[in-house]
Symmetry: C2
Subunit: 400 residues, 2 copies
């Protein structure tokens, strides 16, 4: 049993798939989100989608960082970290919806469960303000998201700190959907980098996004958090699973990118807000729609996520993934996880896959790079008797 | 500071109102849910609503009951209790939407956060199956709710047991909205009972719904739960606030209604699923629309909820509320809460208010009774210099 399972998390979510197996699968079995007929307005040429997701346990990291970063003489820490959590809860929805081709005129409602004794009103305010600020920024790229309010419940006996979730609703024309049904042998896969600094980000993004954070938190942070912040974990976990790493969130680490040295706090890397690809994918969908055979967001399941959406008779070969950025190297070094597990849990530097014709790849890459989002052909789709995935990196070959 | 506040809950949710004060209030300031223009389809005669709510800490009671009711020789308890929680999460949304006049063609998405080490797959399955079964039952009354899927996250470091939330989306014609703007002096208030057994329920409903359950759980259940089920509460609470009551969930209690003796488990009373008024309100909206001046769901805030929605220049007099059913008497006896606090936190037997003309009250009452839902004129709207609420019961007068 992996550390990941012992901590009560599962990248493959077998339980959830079993529990939902009898639910309506929607109109397109391979689409990244479930797509239903247009029940809201009854137009046969349109569809409806409702999608829910959240910041997961990343909110715990925000809480720890906020508690630890209190300047002396003050009573509260840096509230801006909660704006990043707001962005996480939104982008985990938005970037899933991008994968079915939806990028505009979305409705968003938030669901926040908090322990009022631990999370004061000012934190709620930062999350709500942060949500609105993110929507304002997206609007400037033509990605319109309407904030419809939501529910905030005080449920301290259920929630140790805070759970920040959101739900999006969309109505969209059928002719503009991406259903992943066009993915076929011969396609190449353009990968968009999860890290770096895009033209619409104000600082370096570590690429961590909002998946695998239970593992990352325990594997990277040191034992001092275990006694000092009991609200931050399931206290019935074996002590050997809890905060087993070398770092403090407020500690600086050095790293180099292209021979340039950087220094940043561990907490900043872990709490880097989930990058949205919405400005990039919007332009791709508007100007290169026919080239796009499929879109896959490497969220839960990491680089193996594609196996749920590609046809049965293909082998996916990923032999040119991005070099994993520093945060994933730190996690792997601290957790001693093998490459197989790392690629199953984390995006490892590549977070959006665009399946396309070989001849169209360059144009797609150029659009992405024009937004400062690194992109390259990371792999291709081959004919195969059974569905499989091969990740090749240096001398390493991992089959899934 | 009340017990209620010390436990980190607030019936008035002052924090939340402060945090959301700058958000768009929608088209109608007094409407029970926020109502927005029809962004989804752009029709000026239609509107959009998105609404989020959940079962709150009632899920903890389900977990305790499920754990305690394991038959000897078996490994798991009665899973059906989880279907009631599914209904709670849905009805807390549905009955709020009824109050703006919406009762059909709804989209529902669930958001479930669980501790995988405490909540197994079979519980998720019961919740999801229970949701679908409730939708099937509503469909037979012409209340169509489409289950769009949702998100289930394994976040054991955030959630001790399970949080069951849901979000609904509706598109609705403006001409069929209830906005509470017609509430005026001279109106009478028809109250619908939260308890009893309607024609669409299979057993007695205690009337508890899904509000005030943190208090009710701690005030009613005895200290044995404190050591045996540490997953069921915030262990940093003062011991004097935790499970201070006389009962066990599996214990039978006797009570009489109209001189008939009944016997049931305490757990059954506390876990009675939130009754929906959808079949009743649908018929009222379809056949008595012009008589309905306002609709208020006495959820969080109990009998004082109306103060948020009535005009400024009225006094609401409630002098004929239903006799509180047994569950609220048990809670008050155990908690020693005064009547003022009880009416602020719980529905106390009356859970839906219909503001109407005096002459139309009988017709409305008859519709409700035809579904086996008790109804009566519980009060009226008087002119007043300042907005206030008077609850009169026997010799008691409470002003809010």
């Amino acid at each position: 049993m992996s550390l990941y399972s012992k901590r009560g998390v599962s990248a493959q979510k077998e339980d959830v798939h079993a529990a939902t197996k009898n639910l309506d699968k929607g109109l397109y079995p391979k689409s990244f989100c479930k797509i239903y007929p247009d029940m809201l307005a009854g137009d046969p040429d349109w569809v409806n989608v409702m999608h829910a997701d959240g910041a997961g346990t990343k909110s715990i990291l925000a809480w720890l960082y906020w508690r630890e970063s209190v300047p002396s003489g003050k009573e509260t820490g840096d509230l801006s970290i909660w704006k990043a959590i707001a962005q996480d809860a939104i982008v985990m929805n938005l970037d899933d919806l991008l994968c079915v081709g939806i990028y505009d005129n979305l409705l968003f409602s938030s669901t926040i469960d908090r322990n009022k004794r631990v999370i004061p009103a000012e934190v709620l305010e930062a999350i709500i303000t942060g949500s609105q600020e993110f929507f304002d920024k997206m609007k400037s790229f033509g990605v319109n998201i309407h904030y419809m309010g939501g529910e905030t419940a005080d449920v301290g006996d259920v929630v140790r700190t805070i759970a920040v979730n959101g739900t999006m609703t969309a109505r969209w024309p059928k002719s503009k959907l991406i259903t992943n049904e066009k993915i076929k042998k011969g396609d190449v896969i353009v990968g968009l980098a999860s890290y770096g600094q895009s033209t619409y980000e104000t600082e370096y993004n570590s690429g961590i996004a909002s998946n695998g954070l239970t593992s990352a938190r325990h594997d990277l942070l040191n034992k001092s958090y275990s006694s000092k912040f009991q609200e931050s974990y399931d206290t019935s976990l074996d002590d050997e699973l809890v905060y087993t790493g070398p770092y403090k969130l407020t500690e600086n680490i050095q790293y180099s990118i292209f021979n340039t040295q950087y220094s940043t706090k561990v907490g900043k890397l872990l709490l880097s807000p989930t990058r949205t690809f919405a400005p990039v994918v919007k332009e791709l969908l508007e100007n290169h729609f026919d080239s796009i055979h499929g879109l896959i967001h490497c969220s839960g399941g990491g680089q193996t996520k594609c196996l749920k959406y590609v046809p049965d008779n293909v082998r996916i070969i990923k032999d040119n993934l991005f070099e994993p950025p520093i945060i994933f190297k730190m996690i792997q070094e601290a957790s001693k996880a093998d490459d197989r597990e790392m690629y199953q849990v984390f995006n490892m530097g590549t977070r959006m896959e665009i399946y396309t014709n070989e001849k169209d790849a360059d144009a797609i890459i150029n659009v992405s790079k024009s937004f400062g989002v690194d992109a390259q052909v990371i792999g291709r789709v081959k004919e195969s008797e059974k569905k499989e995935l091969l990740i090749k990196r240096n001398a390493l070959e991992i089959f899934f």
